[in-house]
Amino acid sequence: MQQIFNFLIRNKNNILFLLLFGLSLFLTIQSHSFHKSKFISSANFITGGIYKKANNIQSYFYLEEYNERLLEENNLLRNKLSNVPDTLFNDTFIDSTVYEGIYEFRTARVINNNYSKVDNYITLDKGRKDNILPESGVVTSQGIVGIIDNASKNYSRVISILNSDSKINAQLKKTNHFGSLVWNGKDPNIIQLIDVPRLAPVKKGDTIITGGKSLIFPRGIPIGNIVGFALDENGSYYTIDIKLFNDMTNIGHVYVIVNKDRKEIRELEDIDD
């Protein structure tokens, strides 16, 4: 017994080191496995609060730019609205109860944004209280941003598309050939679309949109332009480089897309298990 105590006292530094190092490794490994509720995250009470305070001050400096973006978006929506070809004709056919759709948009403000690491996260200033739940899509007026993975009462955390865990279904605008959107961790403006079949007519400058094969994003949200593409080693799939429409280094306000039917679809899919 005496010897055990002596051993412990003699090696107390090594033991403490192993303990602390093991604890931090555990947290690291946990953060690398997708979809787990984490206490150590920027969406908790303290960090979210501090980020929000800081952002309250910072956002004043960007007011002009945000206004400009809003004007641009309003312009776009107005153009769409006033160019509906024949309103009389449409009125008879649009059934407003069906037209409402299953997606609901909510606004939120970005209070923390990363883009220089391999696994980047964004923190928003709204959470469960505003009915924002994990696995909701996040977009701006220009393109997609990411998916919510963790929501506390007042804050939520978004897995940015600039994250090695992020995998989003996307397709060519012209045809229906689709693939998965991933990021190789290098340039925050260029992301990759992989597993696009060789048959697809890929051309530089073509637009990529979301595919709508998941519950998270509706179909047709713009993502970016093709700037380059190459066949993979087997020669059967394209890997496409996409320049984002969205400037991921400069996001102010975002829209969170809530799928109202999600619970129902989930229940349907879970019947198998």
């Binding site: 602390l20 931090s24 690291t28 690398h32 920027s42 908790n44 696994d119 923190t123």
Partner: protein, 140 residues
């Protein structure tokens, strides 16, 4: 290359008094790393890297300052310049290397890890040196 993010918080671990008990120093380093991890959403990589360099700091100190470290008389402000530089470089390099290995978490990105470690370390070391010259302790 994208963006370089120097980690100036290493300055705290570099100038922390050399004669504090090792266990206490490791605990402080762990808490520092963990608080940065919560804000950066990076799991536990900063905590791991901080605890690691806190653990091996005596070895680096002995390597850089030689036998005089053992008599607990060393103060960072009155050491020879070369020794101080080697101490800082070693601390920053080891910290960043472990940090980026844990961040990537795969050995298929060795080239990217080394590149990031190299560039981030250069800027961190520069910032640390600038801060040390700007905030010199007053001589009495």
């Amino acid at each position: 290359m994208g963006f370089i993010n120097p980690y100036l918080y290493l300055l705290f671990l570099i100038v922390y008094p050399f004669n504090t008990p090792q266990g206490l120093f490791m605990l402080i380093a762990f808490l520092l790393g963990l608080s940065i991890d919560t804000f950066e959403d990076s799991g536990g990589i900063h905590a791991a890297a901080c605890v690691f360099i806190a653990y091996i700091r005596p070895i680096i100190l002995r390597f850089s300052f030689g036998i005089s470290y053992d008599y607990q008389t060393v103060k960072l402000s009155n050491t020879p310049y070369g020794a101080r530089l080697s101490y800082i470089i070693l601390m920053v390099l080891l910290h960043n290397l472990l940090l980026f290995i844990l961040e990537m978490f795969s050995f298929s990105h060795v080239y990217l890890i080394l590149k990031k470690t190299f560039f981030t370390s250069i800027f961190t070391i520069l910032l640390v040196l600038i801060s040390l010259t700007l905030f010199k302790p007053k001589r009495r």
